[in-house]
Amino acid sequence: MKRTQLLIIVCVLVASALGVFFYKVTQLGFPVIPDLDSDTWTIESKVSFTGRGEPVTLRLALPEAQGQYSIIDESFIASGFGIETETDETGRRAIFERRGQDGSAVLFYRAKLISVDQRTENGERRAEPEAISDYRRSERRRAIQENATPLLVALDSVLTEALEKSAGERSFITQLARLSIDTNDDRITTIIEGGPPDIDNAAERLVFLLNAAGTPARLVEGIMLDADTRQAPLDSWVEYWLDGQWVSADPVSADPLDNARALPIVYDGAPVVDGDGFRRLGVSWSVARNFESQLLRAMERGAEYAPWVNATSLLSLPIDLQLVFRVLLLIPLGALIIVVLKQVIGMPAFGTFMPILIALAFRETSLLTGMLLFVGIVSVGLLLRAYFNQLQLLLVPRLAAVLIIVTFLMMFIALAGEASGIQTGLSISLFPLVIITMTIERMSLTWEEDGASEALKKAAGSLAGAVPGYWILTNEYIEHIAIVFPELLLIVLAIVLMLGRYTGYKVTEFFRFKVLARHGET
């Protein structure tokens, strides 16, 4: 009875999942394999603010329509606001206006970008911009003869040294950057003191020196398009004019950055958002690598023949939500792994879904660092937990104390990571505190009651379970399938339901009862 009900449910689930999947693949042409080389991106800017009941004017800097990227589609979501765009020498911006805004409001800007190969672009060279500086060589010479200020002398000396040590424009820039960062050099301190304000900052100083040398250069604030993220940080770098094009470069070493990744938004320190009539301004940028054009075509076809496909597609959600679902949709697969590990293999582990939660945490840190962090924090926590036990604290306060210590540990790791230049420090902020604390508590209990070997076995089991979980949660192909064909998760549900009625042996039981298999009754 239960069996037949279950079989019917499973068949319905599998049939509907496969039906929708094959329809989408064969009729609408949804791609099964992601095109990982595709270089189109969607960026989304979310501006939130609170109005004071006064007229609001808000200017938001937008990515450049020309440059390495060309914008193929852009849209605003700002109900009740008048929108116009303007372009000046500091970049392009959108102006949102409203007569009176009371309470909080959120504005969205979304753009689809395609990388354009500069070399094939019409073949025409753009007009060379002019270096903006009062200290260009000819003017400097004259100025020194008239009035040899310490600034001019220092500047001249630095530029001359860079010129002497270099063979060509490219190495001149590198030499200049190398000299520019040395703040122990008296000439550089003189330049910082005598030059325009703000050039104690390495990037601004390099821009100043390059312009003084006659090489057009500017400071850029923008986004590096390298991974899908909901909180893309605004980076700053420099651009200089070399061989007829703007080259994006590291603000300290002046080494060129990957032009295909750097998306400029504002130049020369212009604000990303400004205006008046509001307070509590917040701006965040999300970035997502677009699915390839094949997928876009499929969506268009879908809009024509089967509007329900698009209506139920996660790809129509705003990107920051899409990015959440890219992780969320993988969790059912993680759950499936746990079910297999526990019911079919019989792997010992703390808690039911602990391994998958650990895997989720590893996703933020990468597997190896995650493992090291986990083992490190848990072992220090175990030592402290043992000490707290000697102090005879009650259970809940003791857990809380361990939790607080774990918070401090993570803080120290983050600080140490920052000091030694390892970036993992930032990502452990999402490392789940409570999970680690519970692991410590359970592990120390198991340790006391069943001995060290049992505790270590379970800890190893939890970590080992996290490895396949990590692999699934970070695999690009699986992620693509999950977000493009979420209906396939019904099959996962079907498998989990089937395993719910699994009465066979666990793999570990073959070892546990191997004596019986040999000598048992026949």
Partner: protein, 328 residues
Amino acid sequence: MKLFPSTGLSKAGVLGINSRNLDFIAAYNPRRFYPLVDDKVITKKLAIEAGVTVPELFGVIRYGGEVHLIEEIAKRHKSFVVKPSRGSGGGGIMVFNGVAKAGLRRMNGRIMPWGDVKYHLNNMLSGMFSMGDGSDQVMLEERLVPHSAFSKLAFGGVPDVRVIVFRGIPVMGMLRLPTAESDGKANLHQGGIGAGIDMVTGITTRGVQHNDSVDLHPDFETPVRDFQVPGWPDILELVSRLGHHVGLGYVGVDIVICEHKGPTLLELNARPGIAIQTANLRGLRPLLEAIHALPDIPEDVHKRIEIGKANWTRQSLERFHTLEGDHV
């Protein structure tokens, strides 16, 4: 649902955890009866109802404010056991056999200071050793003195007999002996010895420790096989009576054979482990399936014991089908 092909295990009739959970626990143990066995205070009442001997309850500590009561009880009774009411796997249980000024004397002779005792009680009250979440109560109970027959078989603790009872019929039993390694605890996964018992005679057939066959108790070098469990007929009657009374179809009954009181109920377990099969070198499945096939179960406890013995020797249970008339 099966995944693996027929193997030595299935030929030996081994019952796996998955099958135990679905085919026997889920099918025969209604969830609402769980509190009866999970809470040892309730189990004790139930056992008294069924006319089964239980250790005397000296007192129950419910809140942190009552922890000081242990001093009074200790003075009055000297020798007693503290255990969490909803404990699992023997966690938190502590045995004392004397009172000193500084604290309580444990079985190993060491004095546990009052502070440590109360800290331990508080940990138990906050549910550290208990199933589920949240708080628990602490039971203070009579310490059972094991039967003198065990003097050379149990190291530093109390041995017990575990019997699996299915539909009120005893199915399989094992004697659990504490060792130095298990720290006086009779639990197999902590290093205790499990000895299979012939259900007809009550004589042990073999012993295992950590899944390996052992013939001698490691601490005494005494043989663990061919040992006659004292009071075996009484044990069978106790487990069969109680197993029928609690309403759980599949239950593990743990019994201590007390020097003074005879077989005494220690606790009931709604999810008894499957290690008993290794101790007996015998799979549970065929024994359980034969009982599963019985259309009805006799009310008379002696009839049920008779079925249990017949089942152990693998006789056909056909003849019991007609015992109570109406069957399909």
